[in-house]
Amino acid sequence: MAGVSLLVLFLVRKYISLRQYSIVSSGISPAALVKKIHGKKMLVVLPLCINIILVSLLPHIGILLASFAKVWSMTYLPETFTLEHYSEVLFRTPQFIQNTLLYCSLSAVFDIVLGAIISYLMVRKTFPGKDILDGLAMLPFAIPGIVVGIGYLRAFYRFEIPGLGIPLTATWFILPISYMIRRLPYTVRSSYASLQQIHISLEEASMNLGANRLQTFLRITMPLMLTGIIAGGILAFVNAVVEISTTLFLTPSLEQASLSFGIYQYIYNPQGKGPASALGVFAILLVAISIFIVQKILGRRMGTIFRA
């Protein structure tokens, strides 16, 4: 499985070289390429769009209703509403949301730092093994979470943290670490795109005026790539929030579990549908807010991050 996706990844990389993820200007603003739809065509297009959106929103609506429902079985809508599921997940098992925020923020912050450094090396430097680093940084895109989960479990269950004497897999550290690795491509990709927009002479001017490489990176390069890299960081964050496969394998205990693990736990409990939905609503909100922020930051450049 992993072998197949690796093979495909390398083939793709071979034919679509790095240059492909630079932003090429056609000289025409994207807005000019957008066609307005008028009249009769609207009668076809509009209902189609509404239907597609409705269908894809149905699960969300269902989850929202379920999170407030006291009893809901044979009817279209719940019979009685309640807030007890929310109080359950907020006060009885608050660790799910807290842990998620902690793990995902940690992994996103590390992704941001790593992404900035790796993309800087990719764009500005030549060194032996550059291709390998590039491949490694993109690799997590190709490996399914389940493979990573099992892999980490097997690799680290005997790796003891120096000083603590407990295996890495018995602590929560393994979760942010796995999220960090899994989502690294987002920040690498987004920093890469913004770095390519920064003309090298901006950095050279800084060095010419007496700043060394580190000062130049911190004062010139970093601030200029900041919006892109933060957007990438937020995307890494959201995707870590909804990460399920590695979470299931690597969560050491219920106390240290995150939101997605919590949902999984509740859903297999006969009384757990409500709290699971409440957690689901939190997950949806986190994702929605984050994507909204990214869209505000990046605008039309959003697509460049997702281009493979």
Binding site: S201, E204, M207, N208, L209, G210, A211
Partner: protein, 356 residues
């Protein structure tokens, strides 16, 4: 105020794969001099400048500031002030922050930074622009910010890479004058890169002509113009008529039998040998319709066309299968088809060796 230095390049070579961008470059730039690197696009000017700034390490040879060998010194330690062709202003900083950057990096006190930034912005006439961002400035103003940013650190050498090439023609003249004024006022050693021969002739104390990476001639603008060392320079600096021929006689003057069967005489020079193949050069504006008072050459041509170019008429004529170009005053009326005698004094007729 400015600590100026002399700059010396000794046998500098820089290759990019197959291309030799700097080929055995030897330069001696005096302190306080306005020195220009001139040559067609791709001849290696930027490469040479970047070697001086420290952005490229030469494959061979050394760079000296005064007596100090800076060949292995990092760019940030060289104390040069560079104005980039695209200005390279930082878009996330205001004008004042752009200019103050080099001083901040040097850990200079806040008060002094403020004072020096104000003073330098005055010098480049950007008072009141401190709080603008680079996007809110015109091309000429951006140019001034770039200049101020480079000058404020009181660099040992000012390096300018085609600083005027992005400006429109009128602004270019204005900025050109201003750069000379500032340079003279500060007395700073300046190395100026351009492909525009007219610009080079008008701003420089001395000019180095570069071609295919190697320096062809280093001399004052007047000497470059009057005494180009080879056909490439003669052709590159203004237009020229080239008369290939063979040396026929050497007495007081050198007489050349040209291939179009005109005889041209020039001043004597070293190593002249009868039978040598040479090229005689006459600039179009050195031809006249009247006999000069000095000793002169004359060529006969048939006019093929006359073009009015404002200050004069440009005349294209034919001598055998060669086209000759002359610039003559507009008050003389000449018609295509007429035969014309063109006079050029002997000391304005140059002889050049045939290279390769």
């Amino acid at each position: 105020m400015i600590n100026m230095v002399s700059v010396k390049l000794v046998n500098v070579i820089k290759r990019f794969g197959e291309v030799i961008a700097a080929d055995h470059v030897n330069l001696n730039i005096k302190d306080g001099e306005f020195f220009t690197l001139l040559g067609p696009s791709g001849c290696g000017k930027t490469t040479t400048l970047r070697i001086i700034a420290g952005f490229y390490h030469p494959d061979n040879g050394s760079v000296f500031f005064d007596d100090e060998d800076v060949t292995n010194l990092q760019p940030e330690k060289r104390q040069t002030g560079m104005v980039f062709q695209n200005y390279a202003l930082w878009p996330h900083m205001k004008v004042s922050e752009n200019v103050a950057y080099g001083l901040k990096v040097r850990k200079i006190s806040r008060n002094e930074i403020k004072e020096r930034v104000t003073r330098i912005l005055d010098l480049v006439q950007l008072q009141g622009m401190e709080n603008r961002t680079p996007f809110q400035l015109s091309g000429g103003q951006q140019q001034r910010v770039a200049l101020a940013r480079a000058l404020v650190i009181e660099p040992k050498v000012l390096l300018l890479d085609e600083p005027l090439s992005n400006l429109d023609a009128k602004l270019r003249l204005e900025m050109r004058r201003e750069i000379i004024q500032i340079q003279k006022k500060l007395g700073i050693t300046t190395i100026y890169v351009t492909h525009d021969q007219e610009e080079a002739l008008s701003v420089s104390d001395r000019i180095a002509i570069q071609h295919h990476g190697s320096i062809q001639q280093v001399a004052s603008p007047k000497e470059i113009y009057d005494r180009p060392k080879n056909a490439f320079i003669a052709d590159f600096i203004g237009q020229c008529n080239f008369f290939p021929g063979t040396i026929e006689k050497v007495n007081k003057y050198v007489t050349v039998a040209t291939d179009v069967e005109e005889r041209l005489r020039t001043l004597k020079y070293d190593d002249v040998k009868i039978g040598d193949r040479v090229i005689c050069v006459v600039r179009p504006e050195n031809f006249s319709l009247n006999k000069p008072t000095k000793e002169f050459n004359v060529v006969e041509c048939e006019i093929t066309s006359v073009i009015f170019i404002g200050k004069s008429n440009r005349i294209y004529g034919k001598i055998g299968d060669m086209t000759v170009l002359a610039e003559i005053p507009t008050d003389v009326t000449v018609e295509p088809g007429e035969r014309l005698s063109l006079y050029a004094s002997i000391d304005e007729t140059t002889v050049l060796p045939i290279t390769s």
